[in-house]
Amino acid sequence: MLRYIAKRILMMIPVILGISLIVFSIIELSPGDPVSLMLGDGASAQAVAELREQMGLNDNFFVRYARYIGHAVTGDFGISYRNKVQVVNEIASRFPTTLTLTFWGVAISVLIGIPVGVISAIRQYTFIDAASLFSALILTSMPAFWLGLLLILLFSLKLGLLPATGVATMQHFLMPSVTLAAASMATIIRMTRSTMLEVIRQDYIRTAKAKGASAFRIVYKHALRNALLPVVTVIGLNFGTQLGGAIVIESVFAMPGIGTLMVAAVRTKDTPIVMAAVLFVALLASITNLIVDVLYAYIDPRLKSQFVKK
C-alpha cells in the first residue's frame, strides 16, 4: 500500500508539469502586455523596453518556461508584477481561507448528503424520499453565485444574523460553505440514494436479515459501506468542481482567498501569481484524487488486494 501511495505521488509530478506548461502557454498567448499595465499608459517606449529586458521577457518562450520551473522547484515562485510581493507569501496568506472554505464545503455536502440519500433510499416512494429528491433538484439547478446572493439577502440584509463578507470568524464561513456545498450535496444525495437502492436489494442484505439483524444495523453495517464506493468517486470528482466554485464564491462573499487572488491576477496579467495559484489548486486536486483512491482500498477489500499485487 505504501509503495502504491509513493508511486502515485511520483506520478503527480508529470501532471503538475503538464498543467504548468499549459497555463504558461495560455498566459503567453493571451493579449495584453504586463509591462505596459505595470507602467501605465503614459510610460515611454524606452522605459517599457528597459523593463522588459530587465524582467527577461524578451527571452524565448521555452527559456522563460524552463527558468520559471527551475526557480519553482527551489520554492521561488517569483515576485508579483503588480504589487512587488513574494508570490509564495501571497499564496500562503490566502491559502487558509480557501482551504477552510473547501473543507467545510465538502464536509457539509458529505455530512448532509449521505444521510439524506440513505434515508431517501430506505424510505423509497415516501414523502421524505420525494422531498429530498425535490430539494436535490433545486440545489443542482441553482447557480452558486445566485444562491450566495440570495443567502446574503436573507441572512445578512433581512435578518441580520450573519456577516455578508469577510473571513474574520467561523460565522463568516457559514454561508459561503453552504453555498459551495449545495450543488455537490445534491449529487451526493442522488448518488447515495441510487447506490443504496441497488445494494439493499442484494442477496447479502437478505442474508443479514435472515441472521436477525435490525434494520438500522443492516444499513450501517452491511449496506452503507457497499454503497459508498461510487459516492466517494463522486465526492472526489466534485472536489475539482468545488475548487472552481470556490473562486466564484470567494468573489461573491468578498473573501481574500486563492480564488479572488487568481481573478485579480488574470486581469492584470500578473503571470507569477496566476501560475502559482493554478499550480496550487492543481496540487490540491491531485492530492484529493490520491486520497480518494486510497479510501477505495479501505472501503472495498477486493480493491485492496489489487493494490497489493502491484
Binding site: A208, A210, K211
Partner: protein, 339 residues
C-alpha cells in the same frame, strides 16, 4: 422424532403490484417434526422459496403479503409475532441457507466477522473470546481451516462460500434450517460434499430441516419426508419411501419422475411434462394441474381435490377419491427415475 416443531396451516401468500396480483402460495398445509428433514420439491415458480420466506417473515416488504393461515414454531405464532420477536427467531431459532453462495455473503466483511455477527446478535452472554472460539469451532465443523476467518468472501471458492453460509446458519444451533436450493448453484462434486456435510451436521445437532430443491436425486439422499409442490399447493406428501417406492402417485409426481432421463436406456429425447404451470395471476378453478394432466377427468376442472390420506402418504387428486385403484396406470417402476 414425532414431536411437532413447525406447523403451517392454510397458508396463502400473494405478491401484489400495481399491475397484478400473483397468488404464490395457496392454502398450504405442512408439518415438520423435530430433527426431521422434509424435502420441498417442485418446479420453478411453484412457491417453494415463498413458503420459506414466509416462515422467516422475510417476504419483500412492499409486495409480498400473507393473506391467510398461520405458521407456528413451537408455541410461537410466526404470522402474528412482532418484528422484534422475529429478529430474535431469525438466525437463532430458524436460519436459512440461500441458493447462491456467490452473492449471499457481504463482500466487504471477513467471513469470520459474518459468522460472529449471528453470535453478537443472539448470544449476548458470550464473551468476545468465547465468540472467537465458537467461530473457529464452527468453521472447522463445516470443513474450513479456522485461520481463514480473516479472509474475505472473494478469496473463497463457491463451495467454500456455501460452507461459510452453512456455518452462519448453524452458529446458534437453530431448531430449524430452511435450505433453499443450497446445492443448485454448485457443480456436482461440490454438491455431493455439501449434501454430505449438511446430513452429518443435521444428525449431530438434531436440527430439523426444510430442504427446498427441484432435484429429486438430492431429495432421495437427504430427506426423511418429501412434499411435492405445484402452483402454490402441496399435491403429494409422504415419507421418502412413499414417494420413491410407493405405487400410488399424483399424476404430476409421475410426470416429474418421468422427466428424469434414464441412464440405462438409450433415449434420444427427454420426456417432459407437456405444457406450463398455470398463470399465477389468474387462479385456476378445480385441480391446478388439470390442463396438463394426462388423466384429467370432468370433476378435475371444477372441484378442488381433497387429500386422500393413506398412513404417512397423502395425495391431493380426484383419481384416488372413492378408493378407485389406478395402480395399473401409474407405474413408477416403468419410469425408472427412483435412483
Amino acid at each position: 422424532m414425532t414431536e411437532k416443531l413447525l406447523e403451517i396451516k392454510d397458508l396463502s401468500v400473494i405478491y401484489k403490484t400495481d399491475e397484478e396480483t400473483v397468488y404464490a402460495v395457496n392454502d398450504l398445509n405442512l408439518t415438520l417434526n423435530k430433527g426431521e428433514t422434509l424435502g420441498l420439491v417442485g418446479e420453478t415458480g411453484a412457491g417453494k422459496t415463498t413458503t420459506a420466506l414466509s416462515i422467516m417473515r422475510l417476504l419483500p416488504d412492499r409486495t409480498g403479503r400473507i393473506t391467510r393461515g398461520c405458521i407456528t414454531l413451537g408455541d410461537l405464532d410466526i404470522t402474528r409475532a412482532s418484528e422484534a420477536d422475529m429478529r430474535l427467531i431469525r438466525g437463532n431459532g430458524i436460519s436459512m441457507v440461500f441458493q447462491d453462495p456467490m452473492t449471499s455473503l457481504n463482500p466487504i466483511l471477513t467471513v469470520g466477522e459474518q459468522i460472529a455477527e449471528v453470535l453478537q446478535l443472539h448470544r449476548l452472554d458470550m464473551s468476545p473470546e468465547q465468540k472467537e472460539k465458537r467461530v473457529d469451532e464452527i468453521l472447522e465443523m463445516v470443513g474450513l481451516p479456522a485461520d481463514r476467518k480473516h479472509e474475505y468472501p472473494h478469496q473463497f471458492s463457491g463451495g467454500m462460500k456455501q460452507r461459510v453460509v452453512i456455518a452462519i446458519a448453524l452458529a446458534c444451533e437453530p431448531q430449524l434450517i430452511l435450505a433453499d436450493e443450497p446445492t443448485t448453484a454448485l457443480d456436482v462434486t461440490i454438491q455431493a460434499q455439501i449434501l454430505k456435510l449438511m446430513k452429518e451436521l443435521k444428525q449431530r445437532l438434531n436440527t430439523a430441516m426444510l430442504f427446498i430443491t427441484h432435484d429429486l436425486g438430492v431429495v432421495a439422499q437427504i430427506c426423511d419426508r418429501v412434499a411435492i409442490m405445484y402452483a402454490g399447493e402441496i399435491i403429494e406428501i409422504g415419507t421418502t419411501d412413499n414417494i420413491f417406492e410407493g405405487k400410488k402417485h399424483h399424476p404430476y409426481t409421475v410426470g416429474l419422475f418421468g422427466s428424469i432421463p434414464d441412464m440405462t436406456k438409450a433415449t434420444r429425447r427427454l420426456n417432459p411434462i407437456e405444457g406450463l404451470m398455470p398463470d399465477p395471476t389468474a387462479p385456476l378453478g378445480g385441480c391446478k394441474f388439470h390442463p396438463r394432466c394426462p388423466q384429467c377427468m370432468e370433476i378435475c376442472k371444477t372441484a378442488k381435490p381433497l387429500n386422500i390420506i393413506d398412513g404417512t402418504h397423502a395425495i391431493g387428486c380426484h383419481l384416488f377419491a372413492g378408493g378407485a385403484g389406478h395402480d395399473a396406470r401409474i407405474n413408477l417402476e416403468s419410469t425408472g427415475g427412483a435412483e
